[in-house]
Symmetry: C2
Subunit: 343 residues, 2 copies
């Protein structure tokens, strides 16, 4: 995306009616490693999205941009989170304005920058855009992926690219305590990977109008991190595993207890039928982690990136294996045997 000539030639060749733009550096901890990672994240993401916007305007002005944003753009305000816009009454007057953003990492900031750029291009050029503010994704299986083991998606569980429920399932599977950051009261929106895919399909089937910049909050349920840990603990017990919960000092700068009520009705209105995180789904997630547990690198779980430091020196071994995947088509370096956590 950062290479405009490449992007231009592809758009000319494909003549797309919709562009689903997921091509960004996607990890908050990665963006917080040091200055170079922060700058790489923001330049890569902002320039890539600007290139897509210019390419649409120049080559396919009717093409619908579907852009992956994040629920993390909003932060954790003490009022309800709306879908992209909020009606504000102030000193006797009223307007509908972009919802104020309080992102929590240089990565989340890059998505906020993108959102502002997209909104502006819709306004000046009449571009059609849907900004999908996605919650934290869990799971690895979709109907298509289930057809063959070789199709299984990445299953990131490490401290940099992993997501929290994936990590908890893997920690339970290898007998490591679940690592909750701080009190664990951090509440976020979550969704099943199958709903991720369906939401994109829904957005494609229902394009935005010319000049419209729609924002959908793409998640199905809210949980606190501690609630998730408790649920994995219970699922583990049912499977005869002894699961412990550890509270680590929070490496991030965030509220460990806060109000959180985020709206998410627009995708439901368009037909999304959520896969909720039921006991049976959680059992199957833990079972997947158990099935592939001999591939897990147990040393990748503890947080190595501290938000409070301007540079974090991660151990060489860890940065070499940070992309370890479980069950996926990842590199061999990710396929090391389970070992005890190093600390």
């Amino acid at each position: 995306m950062a290479d405009y000539d490449f992007l231009e030639s592809n758009i000319k060749a494909f003549e797309p009616d919709a562009i689903v733009h997921f091509a960004e550096q996607r990890s908050a901890p990665y963006s917080m490693i040091d200055r170079k990672h922060a700058i790489f994240t923001q330049v890569n993401n902002v320039v890539g999205t600007l290139n897509v916007l210019f390419a649409i305007r120049e080559l396919r002005p009717d093409c619908h941009l579907i852009k992956l944003g994040t629920m993390g753009e909003y932060g954790t305000p003490n009022i309800d989170i709306e879908e992209g816009y909020i009606t504000i009454e102030h000193n006797g007057r009223k307007d509908v304005l972009p919802y104020p953003k309080q992102p929590g990492s240089f990565y989340h900031l890059s998505k906020v920058h993108d959102s502002h750029n997209i909104m502006f291009c819709c306004k000046i050029w009449g571009i059609r855009a849907t900004d999908l503010n996605q919650g934290v994704v869990y799971g690895t299986m979709t109907d298509e992926v289930e057809l063959d083991e070789a199709l299984i998606n990445r299953f990131d569980y490490d401290d940099v690219f992993g997501t929290v429920l994936n990590r908890f399932c893997v920690q339970a599977a290898i007998g490591q305590p679940l690592t909750v950051y701080g009190k664990g009261g951090q509440t976020r929106g979550f969704l099943d990977i199958r709903d991720t895919v369906r939401c994109i399909e829904i957005a494609c089937e229902n394009p935005a109008k010319s000049g419209e910049c729609r924002v959908y909050n793409q998640f199905t349920e809210q949980f606190s991190v501690l609630e998730l840990a408790r649920m994995v603990e219970a699922a583990g017990k049912k499977l005869g595993m002894n699961v412990e919960i550890d509270h680590l000092p929070d490496p991030r700068v965030e509220s460990e207890n806060h109000y959180y009520n985020a709206k998410h009705s627009k995708l439901i209105d368009l037909g999304l039928q959520p896969h909720f995180l039921s006991d049976s789904l959680l059992d199957s997630l833990v079972n997947i982690a158990v099935k592939y547990r001999d591939r897990v690198d147990a040393s990748l779980m503890l947080p190595q990136v501290n938000w409070r430091e301007p540079r974090n020196d991660r151990r060489l071994q860890q940065s070499m294996t940070a992309r370890a995947t479980l069950g996926g088509a990842g590199s061999d370096s990710g396929r090391v045997r389970a070992s005890k956590a190093k600390r």
Copy 2:
């Protein structure tokens, strides 16, 4: 600023207590020329500011960052504009949140990106910052500059780097009609260049607290573009000049008539004594333009950059002379003789 090694060595050498950061691409029309100018503007400004933030955290954590923002970050909402933050009551709850931003160019967007990045770094690293959301500056003289002609500041009047009141004075001085974009109901905050300098001094003398990201709206009066044109017309008449007003199609995408009421009391509370745009000041501005009118390039006044186009091919001659300055220490290319407007 974009060269971190240079920045680092300078901060180590100077050990500053405050950094006044004006080092950004500062023109909205420049950022709207085409994709490359848009990307240059955003990368240059965002990376420069990130570098300053990291340098302060690493080298001078107590150093006060004074950053030039712009009133254009807010756009023209239908409610009062507050200074950086707004208290929002929503569904029975309340919070103080960053004021929603609706910037009107890739340049203004870059400042919004900066503001979000600065706010975040104050939060995670305890940096002290003052974000000065400045209005449109007019005038060229300060007490210090007046000591010698060689000290006179840039006086940009061209369509890319010029500001509106400067351009109107120059157009009046050379007998060109004042070029109002659209209806001219665009209302903005304005301030005298002497107040700009004083506001920075005030910010330096009253540093933000550790972790505080203050936002001051730095302007002293609101005018619509048409009001300014009428004032220059009147000042010209007093000086025996015949001043006409032309309405051009607005090259920007903006409201030509809108509500505008922006708060600006915080700098006054700290001691700013504004220089208002009185008749006598306007007379002296027009007189400065008259004094140097033989240096004006009359072909630089008409807008060449259309917001609605993704690329604007500006004439070679004009791009070569776009940095023309009047009375300043600019390059020779800016010192061409006045000639009739071409169109």
